[in-house]
Symmetry: C2
Subunit: 336 residues, 2 copies
């Protein structure tokens, strides 16, 4: 591999160049005993309730303040597993490379995949690499699927919210979407905007230890907090009422949103979670969250009501109440 090399079509062929790319650029930096056999599937023992998820990542640009497409992919899949209460264990990694992609960029992404996997204590156990001709993909697309173990007695689902429950948010909203957009569009702000991209499984483990009865969890990615809570309200057939005063939006994000005409409630996050918990457990859960690096700004931001079912309402800072609907169209394309 030459330091100034680029991805060629032959790197996707199944021949010697493909093998070299896989061995040197992927397997070596991602090495672990389960990946090593390089058979058509990885195999390992598993016993219990399995969680299984997948996400493809098409973020543009692939490098942004606070992360890159590799870190995003690992964190996104780790978080999807954590949101059903699972302990993430194994990750698959499939890359679609555009011919001409600098190998140095691929290596940088793989290094951050390794770093994110190590932080989240998951192993990349199987993978795939495809190359498409120049112009047939935009640089690099990543897919990660993940397998995790749901501890016994845990039953977290978007359908489980009940009237009376409390709604907890782990921190500020909108950081990821605005950070990616600012890099993409070359916007600059007084304060640097940084993606919140982070693996939340450790935070979730602490939360479940404090409150095994957590009803629902979601990471509010595409569509933001508003869309995520609309999904939970619809699935659980409840109303969710937010209190705007308790929802943290960083000044830089608020300023950017005002300038661009965005509502932070709809802007993507990649290192935040919303949890619905029995009201009596809320303060204990918040306390535990605040001790974790990814939950320092955790707060109760709303409550679950019985009606109007399927609706999300917002009590604004000035005391009015408005409906927080799902977006019909598109706010920020390709932020994950």
């Amino acid at each position: 591999m030459k330091a100034d090399g680029k991805v060629l079509m032959a790197h996707g062929s199944g021949g010697r160049m493909a093998r070299d790319l896989v061995e040197k650029v992927l397997v070596k930096p991602l090495h672990n005993p389960l990946l090593e056999p390089l058979d058509d599937s990885a195999t390992m023992p598993f016993s219990g309730r399995m969680a299984f998820t997948t996400d493809s990542y098409v973020v543009r640009p692939i490098f942004f303040p606070g992360g890159d497409i590799g870190k995003l992919a690992v964190c996104g899949t780790v978080n999807d597993l954590a949101m059903v209460g699972a302990r993430p264990l194994y990750i698959s990694l499939a890359l679609i490379l555009e011919e001409g992609l600098p190998l140095s960029e691929l290596q940088q992404v793989v290094a951050s995949i390794r770093q994110a996997a190590d932080e989240a204590d998951v192993r990349i156990v199987t993978g795939d690499t495809k190359v498409v001709d120049h112009g047939a993909a935009d640089r690099l697309f990543v897919n990660t699927a993940g397998v995790g173990l749901v501890p016994e007695g845990i039953n977290v689902s978007g359908a489980n919210a009940r009237p009376g429950d409390a709604v907890i948010l782990s921190g500020s909203i909108g950081d990821h979407g605005i950070a990616v957009l600012s890099r993409r569009e070359g916007l600059s702000f007084e304060t640097e905007l940084v993606s919140d991209c982070a693996p939340l499984a450790g935070l979730v483990a602490d939360m479940l230890a404090a409150c095994p009865a957590i009803r629902a969890m979601r990471d509010p990615t595409r569509g933001g907090l508003a869309s995520t809570l609309n999904e939970i309200a619809a699935k659980s057939k409840v109303c969710i009422r937010l209190d705007e005063r308790n929802i943290l939006v960083r000044d830089a994000v608020r300023g950017a949103c005002e300038m661009l005409g965005f509502d932070p409630l709809y802007v993507a996050n990649e290192g935040k979670l919303v949890a619905i918990v029995p009201a009596g457990d809320a303060s204990r859960v918040v306390e535990v969250m605040r001790r974790h690096r990814y939950g320092r700004d955790a707060a109760v931001v709303g409550e679950v009501l019985d009606a109007p079912a399927g609706r999300v309402l917002l009590k604004t800072a000035v005391g009015a109440t408005r409906v927080v609907d799902m977006l019909t169209g598109d706010l920020l394309p390709r932020i994950c």
Copy 2:
């Protein structure tokens, strides 16, 4: 969903249009009880040795004689699980859609995903959809990851071939690669060329029932039979000697290869497998395979020797012996 509709950026947004697309075009045709909760991960009980694999599909064109990118994705992942002896159970499905893709084509692909999943007796339990702007991807890329269960006592790996073993091939080679290429390039031949794309887990189950001691299995996809056997020879540190007279190449494929200057040994298959089995079990395994619809032309095509280790040799029809090396470059890009 209008019948003449197209994929729009908003279908990837996380908002209402995205939800509609997922519900109507994906969840409804793929419906099963494990997919239904639509939480961030699917969950299900699992106990035993787990196989886990992933593949992205970028085949061009997405429809070809004998299949399409959807059937290919399901079969490919089912086969990767089967090649370690696993019974395929659960599949994840992640789509990257190019803005402007006709919804009717997406629906056709999803229908064939369902059909292939039903034939292979696997369930699509989790998924993801991303949309990229026109020109940032080539129509439709598919990723499938899969989870399967390896029965107790089965230990199939590319590293397990031993001198004295027999090499079995399940049927003719080169059909998939040539079928895709002919459609892509608008070539026509006297006999229609059809991809062999098929799920092989049923065939493998029959083979393992007849011979639990199968050493190694691979489906010779990208890079063809030659590359696959080179991998096994390298991993197992053995020599594999093929007998050209026993390797079936259909006339239409042979003719196309001669015209195009390809060696069928390097052309991709998507419904064939090569198995390394103890010599004493070979005839029983072949017999069982021939009773299966995807193994009717199964035959012993070679043997495993101790030296030269890592090499694949071919005894040609005229009695000479030549080295079958890995390709360095690229024969047929984007055939899977």
